[in-house]
Amino acid sequence: MKRRTVPLTLLLPAAGAIAFLLVPLLGIVTRAPWSSLAGRLTDPAVTEALRLSLVVSGWALLISLLLGIPLAWLLARARVPGKPLIRSLVLLPMVLPPTVAGVALLQGFGRRGLLGDWLASVGVSLPFSTAGAVVAAAFVAMPFLVISLEGALAGIDPLYEEAAATMGAGPLRILWLVTLPMARPALVAGAALAWARALGEFGATITFAGNLPGTTQTLPLQVYLLLQNDPAGATALSLLLLAVAATILTALRGRWLPVGGGGR
């Protein structure tokens, strides 16, 4: 293929776009309080928020997998009415402002929400609890898993599954032994993106679950509050979250994006 010269009218805005995305991140890296970083990141308040973040995002991922895999399969394989509608429903949390997601969760699962009385009757109260933070994280994270997996499932020839069926395998066994292994790259990528989204969740959490150290104050919430009177501390935590996000993207290279290839 002939290598085309890049016209300046495209190159300049493209370079501008790169700078636009890069400068704020460089700001975090260069302004982070490197000399006191170790001390700040091992501060008990930070480790507590980190522990909580891992617990919340871990549970959110688990819920996303348990509910999201069947939903992705349903969308890709089953004949159900209103499929475009369901797909839009799955996409909605991805495009909604997270605070709106929080308001929606309050009106749905809050004390005075649609299911509030029912939840109270079985002794569950989600707002202001760690479970509430998990719900908020799962709500915004699950779509990433569903969309990623559905795309992969739709690309797998049903012949393999039909072959397994003719050999007498049941639907669950086929899903577990044939379909999911074939969709593994997309499953891993979707799970990683969902987990990263859950780890970074802020708006829905603070709106629905509130902010209490040790119970609902995850790392992003702590970053926000630290910014009020300890910008250096907030920058240190931001660096930590930035490093996590960069690690995930690096690990996904070649799985999620075909370019660069051979990541495994």
Partner: protein, 254 residues
């Protein structure tokens, strides 16, 4: 394509220029536009007050820029052009002391205090500070990182009440919404927040002896290009019509 784009850009900038001219050269008389930096908690009442001031003062329009007091101080220190400043505490006004004083010392125009709010009907039966320490009460406070949270802590400490809040919200308005939604049984907010919620919350005042009072000082900035009009605005804030609006909004007189 290129020329059409350029044409658009030209038309766009012409519109901006025209819009800019219109505010300055409106009618026969020249209009003075005052820029007032004001604390976020004044947003509703100052928008109303500004319209009233304009009605009473021909040839002067007031434009507000609302933000947290600390942000306003930072803007002034970075040289934001403005004529007057109203903050939600005296400490912030002190921090920009060098930028005020040429046209009169800062004057307190209103006070604000904390109150207890509960959902309508007060289902948990909380009426005073002691009640906030009750076991199992879903109490929501502002985070200690923000002024309302610090005031709340101070008040509870002084009253000797130990509380276990279920959440420390990032700002005082979030506390109000949690109470309005009845997710919380009780919360501590400014009297003005409670007033803004009307019947959506029940309000219980905290006695002056136990309360912390926030003062709102106003001052003309040294950098103003309209010292007379700016001073007139600051003085007007202390007048009866302005004070009536402030009282309706839940503020206490200075």
């Amino acid at each position: 394509m290129k020329t059409r784009l350029l044409g658009c850009a030209a038309a766009l900038s012409a519109t901006v220029l025209l819009a800019g001219c219109a505010t300055d050269g409106d009618g026969d008389r020249a209009t003075t536009e005052l820029t007032v930096l004001a604390a976020a908690s004044l947003t509703d009442v100052f928008t109303e007050a500004g319209a009233l001031f304009e009605d009473e003062h021909d040839g002067v329009t007031v434009r507000f820029s609302f933000a947290g007091s600390q942000e306003l101080a930072a803007q002034i220190n970075q040289g934001a052009p403005a004529d007057a400043l109203v903050t939600a505490d005296t400490a912030t006004m002190e921090a920009v002391r060098a930028e005020t004083g040429d046209h009169g010392a800062p004057a307190v125009i209103a006070r604000n205090a904390l109150v207890i709010v509960t959902p309508p009907g007060n289902p948990a039966g909380v009426t005073d500070l002691a009640g906030l320490g009750r076991d199992g009460l879903r109490l929501v406070l502002a985070a200690p990182e923000v002024p309302a949270g610090r005031y709340g802590e101070e008040i509870l400490d002084r009253a000797g009440v130990t509380v276990t809040p279920v959440s420390q919200e990032p700002n005082v308005r979030a506390v109000l919404s949690k109470v309005r939604l009845a997710e919380a049984d009780a919360g501590l907010v400014y009297a003005t927040d409670a007033a803004s919620a009307g019947d959506a919350v029940d309000t219980f005042p905290i006695p002056a002896g136990q309360n912390v009072v926030a003062e709102y000082p106003a001052a003309v900035l040294n950098s103003t290009a309209h010292p007379d009009e700016a001073a007139a605005f600051v003085a007007w804030l202390g007048s009866a019509p302005a004070q009536e609006l402030l009282t309706d909004a839940g503020f206490a007189a200075p």
